[in-house]
Symmetry: C2
Subunit: 430 residues, 2 copies
């Protein structure tokens, strides 16, 4: 057969979009690009996506790591245009248009989305980075769980000689602090009652401290009051106006000079993007190390580099920034993807507009508080079910939803078989 | 009110039975002593019981750690006479009648049950202890899973430059080796097909080697032939008559001089009690470091120290020893408990008699082989269901059974969402 007189023109290669970070923002961006005329590579140091809002449940032995983590490859298994690369990105070579990985390899991009998230902010408080326990990765959660359970075992072993007391301190009264303090109080109560620990529940204190005068400052004052009341009812000692000035191995010190011995300091005081890839993208970065972006989420000085989620100073209107929250990450990640597609089609980009879907926090079984725009405050059992439904809805993958549902149903009916395992090797590096 | 003329006599304190090890033997012993007129303390380095027969499933990402582990305190939560102590036993002070723990504390006993299990046997093969990966603890399983998944990711990353080949070698053709090789072959196939790895399934080899001429030497010849046929059908390269003489970081060498490069050497070649507490109990111990016991499972030279499970040279008739199997551990643990109760009542002890309930091994989904006394060989799908039912029956705790059932149902119907997480910190110490 004769060759065709006019061979097909060489097909234009598809643009390569590289997304660094497989969290809410990165996954949302990649999802939006699935089956679009681009080639996508998601790069992450972990091969799984972590559902951060439920990490405190892993830390307090309510859920298992696999309940809140989902392999990134599996998320995009049915999308042929999305690949995954397991690795740590060392730096961005803007001039060559490629990222450099720690293993020495490089990946070229046409568009880059930086969605590297944030880490715990220690505000230069001495000892905090070394001794306080953050809750911002699966490894953090496993380490904290080990510490909590091992502390209870140590106190039980020592209890044959003398009555033991034990204090856990949670620093920070935002959703993470409130949720962790509530769940920790439940864990202690269940562990003592069900596991036959020789400890008196009144000797085990959970203290929640914040330097502000109320909890949940991101929500309305009634929401904060409700959370404080529910936590107090659960036996949590809530203390306001307390500034931590130093953290030691098993103690912390406040601005008023008080020193409190504690089995663990749980750090829920805030997050920062400083020290991450996002922070190194530009000459100067925004507040808390977040990448400075234009209204369309493109970097101020790079036409083909975008930033989303906690790593980006996502604008809200003219003068404000969005809070570092999961809904912002999801919406901003999706927005980056849409603007990249528009740019590739030669169309103008649109500014990012955050759609506030409300805020929620749970305070133990059957108590939660949600602030829904246009509805107001939802709380109590109704709030709890709303919280559960919303989280299950967002949990990636049907099986994870089912597993979490089973675990939560168990918890709700107070059955004793939570996964209170001390996995010895969790106390080590990330 | 006047004091009673004749105060009650001081009650005789209950005898204290200390059980070292919360595996099959230790848990069976403690269960038998629940609500009996003794005080019981179970001591273990982990706060959980591990269901060892399913460890290979954790290693091949079919199950999660929490599916095969169960907190020891929770197992005995309803038995007031059973306590738990989290710690590592350093030695037994026979003269003082107490055990010494690594944290410096001591626990006095009236009767001691040593049920410390066994560890992988390396037969002094150079490099084996350092580089081969055993499968005898939850930490082993997590390390192996990380290695397997990380090897696939590394090969995928390198596959952009050149076609990559990958070999995994399983050493040992007993149940653990057969089950691991089968599950590993399935994992590789699923990971490549579902996760979009850029590897050709024919480039990823799973090799099972044994120095014997057949598989499952503990079972009948037809069972071994069936297993070999099924593994071959699943793509496993089964090689007989091969002795490993050296293990390197990413390779192994055979007696015939062949050197095979491999991403992982999985060590299922046998177990030993050497180096454990059981080994140090006596001047001389039995084969593979197992404690020498009399017919009633009491140590030959100590009237109040007993040994059970893999740690003991459990006699079978006059001249034989029982194999190191879960049913032997369960029956011997229970037997120790019964003889302790008899001794405390001043009754004579009875010799241990092993009741053979048969042996089983599974070779992937829908294929298993079981040898049942009085019935003969059961294999294929029926064998698989029998295997599943039996394992679920023995899995401690209703929730664990339910979780495993769900995971297995998923697996059976080949859904893609297995927990293929690389948890970075698992590559570290025990």
């Amino acid at each position: 057969m004769a060759p065709p007189a006019h061979p097909d023109p060489t097909p234009v290669p598809l643009a390569h979009v590289v997304i660094v970070g497989g969290g809410f923002a990165g996954v949302a961006a990649a999802r939006r690009l699935a089956d679009q005329p681009v080639r996508v590579t998601v790069v992450d140091r972990h091969n799984f996506h972590t559902f951060l809002p439920l990490l405190y449940q892993v830390a307090t032995a309510g859920l298992e790591p696999a309940d809140v983590a989902y392999p990134i490859r599996t998320i995009f298994g049915s999308s042929d245009n999305i690949g995954f690369r397991h690795g740590v990105v060392r730096e961005v070579d803007h001039d060559a248009g490629r990222i450099l990985l720690e293993d020495g390899s490089a990946i070229a991009y046409d568009h880059l989305v930086v969605a590297t998230g944030a880490t715990a902010a220690y505000f230069a408080i001495p000892g905090a980075a070394q001794f306080a326990m953050p809750l911002y990765s699966l490894a953090d959660a496993r380490r904290l769980r080990n510490r909590l359970l091992a502390s209870l075992e140590e106190a039980d072993a020592a209890a044959s000689d003398a009555r033991q007391s034990l204090t856990f301190v949670v620093v920070g009264g935002g959703p993470t602090g409130v949720e962790t303090a509530g769940a920790l109080s439940e864990l202690v109560r269940i562990a003592i009652r069900r596991d036959g620990l020789r400890l008196d529940p009144s000797d085990v204190r959970v203290v929640l401290v914040d330097q502000a005068a109320r909890l949940l400052t991101g929500m309305s004052a009634p929401a904060g009051r409700y959370a404080a009341r529910e936590l107090a009812r659960m036996g949590v000692d809530v203390q306001f106006g307390r500034s931590v000035v130093e953290v030691e191995s098993r103690a912390l010190r406040f601005a008023d000079g008080e020193r409190l011995e504690t089995a663990a300091v749980i750090w829920a005081a805030g997050v920062t993007a400083s020290g991450t890839l996002a922070h190194a993208l530009q000459e100067a970065s925004g507040p808390a190390g977040r990448a400075l972006v234009r209204a369309d989420l493109r970097l101020v000085d790079r036409p083909n580099v975008w930033a989303a989620g906690d790593a980006a100073a996502v604008p809200r209107g003219e003068r404000e920034l969005c809070a570092q929250l999961a809904p912002v990450a999801i919406q901003s990640g999706r927005h980056c993807a849409e603007q990249i597609l528009a740019t590739l089609r030669g169309e103008p980009t649109r500014p990012f507009v955050y759609r506030d879907k409300g805020l929620m926090a749970t305070i133990g079984r059957r108590a939660a508080v949600a602030q829904v725009p246009g509805v107001g405050l939802v709380r109590g059992t109704l709030g709890w079910w709303a919280w559960l439904g919303l989280h299950l809805f967002y949990l990636v993958g049907f099986r994870n939803r089912l597993r979490v549902m089973i675990n939560w149903t168990w918890r709700y009916f107070d059955w004793p078989s939570g996964p209170r395992l001390i996995v010895a090797d969790a106390e080590t590096a990330d």
